[in-house]
Amino acid sequence: MSTTHNSAEQDKLDVDNVLAGDVAAFEGIVRRWQGPLINLAYRFVGDRARAEDMAQEAFLRAFRGLKAWRGDAAFSTWLFALATNLYRSELRRIPAHTPLDEIPEPADPRPFGCDVEGRSRDRVVRRAVDALPAKYRDALILFYFQEMDVAAAALSLGIPAGTLKARLSRGRKLLESKLPATFERRPREETACPQETR
């Protein structure tokens, strides 16, 4: 809590200095928020290089529009909302997903066991999320990225918390209908890799 408070104070100080003409003070904001902004972009596009390009553009837009932050909400909230809008626009311009209907069903219905197959499963889930309609995909990504904080995710998206919950519910239903039934949790001994049992 004190770390968050210190960060908020530091953000305000840096913003005031930048607006007073000290451009170098913006570096403090960049170093504090580069990780979260890049990782949020990475959640959207799944590509490191593109995520860093988008995060850089987000910082530039924040620099240009710094006067627009009136201090009524936390700087991080304003920054995340700006970045989220940019990332969503970028995805509309250059999509990172394939249509939901084109996600192939795995041919092998046997349950996934090894870590390699676990990673493959994660890739399938990732692609399925990317293929969702934008409003459900964005809601899911923001919700889990914000550590399941509904209020924070809703603020970033600029929608009411109730709307976010509805989109999360609908998005999960779409995923459940698309992903195979054999994603059910299995006891550990049934999921051991063949080489582990030798």
């Binding site: 960049v30 990780g35 889930v125 990225f145």
Partner: protein
């Protein structure tokens, strides 16, 4: 797929525990771009104190010309006897009576040329000052 297992997979895939580390030099790259952005001069403000009086004069001049044109059209009409000029609104008759230099009616081309030269000189003058 149950809702719980889907939730676990989504939490693992998208939560902060799967964070990537920014590449070295990212912050430097951003600050370079920010410094370039800050070095761009601000846009030239529109010179309202110069433009507004001129725009008002031009607008008044056009209103007088239009009034004179309407008055002249009615006066020259074949059915002027059926539509006497006195039927025109009083403000048009009044504006039509505004005296104008006799050369203005004949030198439209010179007037247009002068306005064009002025329209070109004014922005060149202000951009040269910057």
């Amino acid at each position: 797929m149950t809702d719980d297992s889907l939730h676990d997979v989504l939490a693992k895939e998208f939560s902060a525990s799967e964070d990537i580390v920014p590449s070295a030099g990212f912050a430097t790259s951003v600050m370079d771009a920010v410094h370039r952005e800050a070095a761009i001069p601000p846009p030239i403000p529109f010179p309202w104190k110069w433009a507004l009086p001129g725009a008002v004069v031009c607008l008044a001049f056009m209103v007088v010309l239009i009034a004179k044109g309407i008055h002249a059209a009615f006066a020259a009409s074949a059915s002027a006897a059926a539509l006497p000029v006195g039927h025109l609104p009083a403000w048009i008759i009044g504006l039509a009576a505004v005296p104008t230099p006799i050369w203005l009616g004949a030198e439209w081309a010179l007037l247009a040329l002068g306005v064009s030269l002025l329209a070109a000189w004014i922005p060149m003058h202000f951009t040269a000052r910057e």
